[in-house]
Symmetry: D2
Subunit: 345 residues, 4 copies
């Protein structure tokens, strides 16, 4: 089969690989219908993710058709259309029993990282019963690809952790795909204000179309001042960090109201200053989270009932034999205005 392979920092290729086999009784093999590329895949290609070694097939998102299942798989059978979760959950360990699948001691984020992933014609998915989800008959499969990772990430790490509520005021720092996923799913809770902060006018314009009530371009570095003015000096109930750098985290520290939450979604490479000398008495919470995908069933229902139009996040479409073009387009998002690129088999 054809597969997109990471061959060490800066080296990527489409290669011919053997079709994966069932190796544990809880495995499934899934034939891909659609996949996509995540910002994390770009990090891997740069060499920033040491757990992902050269020779790895990348990709942790996708929908497909079950091809084979191990003898302990009971919830899926060949022919079933499925959503592949970016998180593999054994369903058995202490963390899985608490719904914290991200920290599954037997799984977690392994697809396209520690084991081969979904940017290939077939993928082996461990713990199929607890890591795949049935695609409803008649569902738009493009939208379902957004359920593998980006929607639950924005929703769980940003919106749920951020305790967005009817009438509350939310700011999202970073209007990339993940910030926009938080923006879309924040609207489940009818907040009064959602302020998007970014440096890119195109992304801010898109934010407005996606439901932001206000946008702030922080090119001049005065986002904090503007947000404080918009909120009557009070600050925001929820500040969602969706970039992953110290400056945007500190912006969140500066705009969170007493009693508010800073929900970190961004992937950070370095430490940030925590201004406890100002925050110790502000009654705030700061949360971090790797997506658990525990809300996938809930999100699936919101997609099915059209409470959310997840396809909006898809800006470009490619065939799998154009996967290198897809990476180029996604990697040059500032110019191409790409959010999610859909890759079809």
């Amino acid at each position: 089969m054809k597969a997109f392979v990471f061959n060490g920092p800066g080296k990527k290729a489409v290669e011919e690989r053997p079709k994966p086999e069932i190796s544990a009784p809880t495995d499934a093999v899934v034939k891909l219908l659609k996949t996509t590329i995540c910002g994390t895949d770009l990090h891997i290609l740069k060499g920033d993710v040491p757990t992902c070694t050269p020779g790895r097939i990348l990709g942790h998102e996708g929908v497909g058709v079950v091809d084979k299942v191990g003898n302990a798989v009971t919830a899926f059978k060949p022919g079933d259309h499925v959503i592949i979760s970016c998180i593999s959950s054994c369903g058995t360990c202490e963390y899985c029993r608490r719904g914290m699948y991200s920290h599954c001691i037997n799984g977690g984020w392994i697809l396209g990282n520690r084991i081969d992933g979904t940017q290939a014609e077939f993928v082996r998915t461990p713990f199929a019963d607890t890591s795949l989800y049935h695609a409803p008959a008649g569902a738009e499969e493009d939208a379902l690809v957004m359920l593998s990772d980006i929607l639950p990430t924005g929703f769980e790490c940003g919106v749920l952790n951020g305790k967005v509520q009817p009438g509350s005021t939310v700011a999202i720092v970073g209007a990339g795909p993940i910030g926009l996923a938080a923006l879309l799913t924040a609207q489940f809770y009818a907040p009064a204000e959602i302020i998007m902060i970014d440096l890119d006018d195109n992304r801010l314009e898109m934010s407005t179309r996606f439901g932001a009530t206000a946008v702030v371009n922080n090119k001049d570095g005065n986002a904090v001042e503007k947000v404080m003015k918009m909120t009557g000096g009070r600050g925001v109930d929820t500040a969602i960090e969706a970039v992953g750098v110290p400056a945007s985290f500190i912006t969140c520290e500066d705009i969170v109201a007493p009693g508010g939450v800073i929900a970190n979604v961004g992937v950070h490479g370095v430490k940030a200053d925590l201004h406890l000398e100002r925050l110790w008495d502000r009654n705030i919470s700061i949360t971090t989270r790797l997506v658990d995908t525990s809300t996938t069933p809930m999100l699936l229902k919101t997609v099915q009932s059209r409470r959310i139009d997840a396809k909006k996040l898809i800006t470009h479409r490619f065939k799998f034999d154009q996967v290198l073009d897809a990476y180029e387009t996604f990697g040059a998002a500032a110019n191409t205005h790409a959010l999610k690129v859909l890759i079809e088999f």
Copy 2:
């Protein structure tokens, strides 16, 4: 001043009364701009509410302008436009400190019940600092009248107690004003399905316009069967009782899914059968609640940010000198299709 007065079962009149005075340092006197009629007012007129004695000025909803304040009132001053909460909260007792204002030992539902109410040119409101809310500059005052009682009742007793969630399935038994208020505010949480059940096709049609995803006319008594079919035999996550009779409560018992909630909103005059022999192992919750109006600030923000169009509930408008007509229209809702009738001064 003119006032609408309950003179004993079946007897009502517009009478001339003295303008109320400040009698405690925490009082305000408010000049009414708009008021409305509640189903409870009809109960009082029938003689069903023993705490309300003949001679009482009715009404517990309204917006107005502060006329006078006692010397301990600090949050309001003459000239302020205010929403009058149906619940008077002392802010001091054990229940108020827990946010359970409905059970305030010094207040609670007293307006238009134990003390004179808002269907008059002026009203004395006790505990003004904790029982009035500032009407925002430029707000639609018609919509704000809905914040006195009906919106917080549907929201707190039905939606919040019912734990409505993104993607969940909700049924509301009763599509009168209070059921519709629950329907409107349930949409804050993006449930996948909201099924309205009633006997009146007009109300069901209105439900569809207000956002119901399905409607069931229970004239033939098979609502349970239909709801179970709609939900694949599973039942609903949230069943909201918005009628106040045993039959509709038992419908809720019959349609609630394992792990679900029955949120009672209706005012009941008799007991109902609780089928514990079927429910003891179903992991359900049943909640009751007199509205606390603790969510009034939250709801005010949703109205201001247009997350909800509260004016939709208003079907008829009267001047205060037509208050008897207003009662007639509201009392004959089956024919007049009245939901809330707005009375302007």
Copy 3:
């Protein structure tokens, strides 16, 4: 092997049966070390549990040693000492993913009910990875038997559902084994008062030894009056029903304070009157629950750290060849003062 068998209403016997085999890859076979008898077993023997058919080996509690495992079992291996949960959880279905194992669509309460149980030398346990728990090295195995059912039942259905809190006032109606399990586990939350209500002075005396702060014998039918007096007319924050008859449920309705919870633990055979005409405006919750055993890991830690002495519930000990005597003793609890009877192999 020897097994205790239900042979139809009123008929029980110790019989020779074949040792169970692995029949699904997720099964284990466990050699019993200790088991016990549950009130439910007595219900089965009376013929009250239609899902349990003649020929069934009873028992859903116990500790043992793993004898064999299916090829998909990864968390247990032969020789491991284990606690057998009364609830079999597939770990995969919608309910298991929500932690509501009691409603597992592939399992639930099946041991000693729909499939053969633990009152035998060996038992086949389905879904071993998610239905067995490792017995810690050096643990008192007598105490661990209490973790199969009675402690999680009292804790989950009574204490957690009842929202017991530091400083709160709790009443438990019924001082049988399950009421006492609620009493023991309620103390995890440091309530100010725990009032036990029963008709049996011996059980009330035992309640005092187990930590009740007050006891009420309801022989004269004035428990409600006494509890209201003890609580200054306010009622209790949490009322736990641990009998399973309408009268005790109605006692709970009569003593619950505004804002309080009635947590039903009892198994009910008939409906009860729900006095909505008094309760609709009291802001109360009523909960029902079949134990999920989702707190078994938590409870295991409290037993291991000696925050609770679970062995206290064991009043009698038998060898398995005395199992008929054990049933006789347990069935005549009023005379024998039996709580839990331990049966050793």
Copy 4:
């Protein structure tokens, strides 16, 4: 009257002052019976609290007898024995309505800071109805002094924010008075392990007497290593920071388990490093809080029902004319082993 006065950095004196008067209708004047000294008072004396200006009478803790009340005070009358909360709550503002009294826009921590405090024969307490609590008849008033500040601080900021649960593992960094208050109140929730970390063997010995299950002296800087070993490499569910310096906060970052909470209690003067590069995917929460004293009624019940022995925190006793000695003893805690010093009038 006699009063203890801050006269600028390093300058303190007992001075003669006029007895305070009622200045607002919601005020009370309270005659002190007992007071105590807080670590914050020492900070003020050093000049570290700019809101507290020279000439201020210090003190924000105490029990006393109501001497006079303003005409809007309804819950208290002269002669009532009361606990004075360290937080003054207007009961009316947005924050008070949310139970976040610490951020009351009209009050908050003002006693002994922005207005004269409790280290004097009399004190004026604003917002008496919502800032005083009735001392129960027959209560030990020494214990009640601990309810003004130290117990709610340890409980709210440490234990509640830290989500201590039955069976969980807790570490408290800092075994001073506030860490010990957290230790005492953590036991309301029956955690399996409470590990105290400090540099002072005397305090650690006291911790063991107060209920710690393990103690770690961090003199050699290897507390992290020891805690990780004690917890099998997993870390703690709750890490409570009770010192207020970067090093102890970072210790918390290093020992918190995935899914755990860092609850900050300490008063910080400088920023700390937040190692987001390690924590972004650990699913942790960090909380900060100035005590709200919203749990005072709950804590009062636990003291009254002897679930906690708050007097344990009192190590020394003085008469008010020895207040300078009391400060000396409290200020030299390392040598005197002082926790709380009780000052009687």
